[in-house]
Symmetry: none
Subunit: 237 residues, 2 copies
Amino acid sequence: MQNKPARGTPLPAYEQIKRHVLAQIENGLLKPGDVVPSETEMVKEFGVARMTVSRALRELMAEGVLNRVRGSGTYVAPRQYESTVLQIRNIADEIAARGHRHTARVLALESSDDPNAVAALELDTGPVFHSRIVHNEEGEPIQYEDRYVNPEVFPEYLAQDFTVETPNNYMVRLAPIQRAEFRIYAQKPDAHVRQHLAMEIGEPCLLLLRRTWVGKDVATSVRLWHPASRFHLAGTV
Amino acid sequence: MQNKPARGTPLPAYEQIKRHVLAQIENGLLKPGDVVPSETEMVKEFGVARMTVSRALRELMAEGVLNRVRGSGTYVAPRQYESTVLQIRNIADEIAARGHRHTARVLALESSDDPNAVAALELDTGPVFHSRIVHNEEGEPIQYEDRYVNPEVFPEYLAQDFTVETPNNYMVRLAPIQRAEFRIYAQKPDAHVRQHLAMEIGEPCLLLLRRTWVGKDVATSVRLWHPASRFHLAGTV
DNA sequence: AAGTGGTCTAGACCACATC
DNA sequence: ATGTGGTCTAGACCACTTT
């Protein structure tokens, strides 16, 4: 870790240290409960000031990766359970886990220049890929999926048959999702969504918005509508 | 801001600076979009090193309270009406983080023998404690909280003043929450909830059910109703 | 050119846990 | 007593935006 960032603005030292620790956790060299080298040790290892190590470890604690105890040491935090809010991405798997039959109907699979979608994917220009799919459980519609996809990350998206494999399954199969952002709303559906979900007028939807990252790119931005009477989200922390 | 914390471990300087900025946002001296004094100015104002001011402002940015632009300045972030599902935070903190004023009205605080509540707390017999509270953000109702509490875990629950401290804050202060289970629904509120949340007829609620464990005991079981037009849940993974 | 935030250093004192 | 993390200082160089 050179004192001066060399060229082209490489990562700052504290960020490099964070990634170094994260990498060790990912490849199993550090397991939950393990002691992480002390600040003093890392100062020697990386040749930086203690403040720099301190910032790296403090931020990892704020992110829930590490636990720090004054007078004792720094430890790898226990693994955090993922909630169903994440697993929702595999609606087909969830349906299968309930012993039910999943079917899908592809309403649209196309290129799009929707500026909102381009912005949601954090791209400068379009076109982007777009799909609209209704997922059924035992023939009953349970999810209306409106998805935009980054063509740079998934160039073959439009060539897939999404009645066989869900878009999300296709994507996690090709690229590891590294980060996700979600929002959950209760919302009245528009007529289009309401009809495709066979909902009664006045019934609300549980709307889940998700954006997922692959590396530094937004890979996909999706809106998932679910009829409130037939669906809810659940999980543990 | 004395250089040396005097006695009894007062708040560290960076934390005092954070609260000072948050207070100014709360009382309206700083509004979304406003320029926050620069690091150099705060160094003079508080008599601390620039690193200390830098940390305070950096953490407020990480919390979504401020936006910082190199070469330009530090700005108050636009209001965010969202909440975090995966973390266990309380509504008062979230409102404070948005720079807003939280108030609460206690509708009920009592013992209850509701068999459903006793079962939800996984107890054999009642009574259990029960509270119903409406939380307001800037005077506008944002959450209707219907909570049952395990008397064995929080025997002094009924003696608290929940206009001063939220039940959640009271409980996490006394006992560490070790596990939580949640369910999220989109639901039409009943007339009682709808009126207390000042909602229009037909507007759906985002309903969050949560049970939390302290050790092997269910500590609390709570239903949180939020008006869909004014509230959503959000988070990252 | 001046001002801003982003990062970093090489020290320091402290509270606390462990040995 | 030793080592740990928590905080803080008084400088510094840099990239960037604004004037």
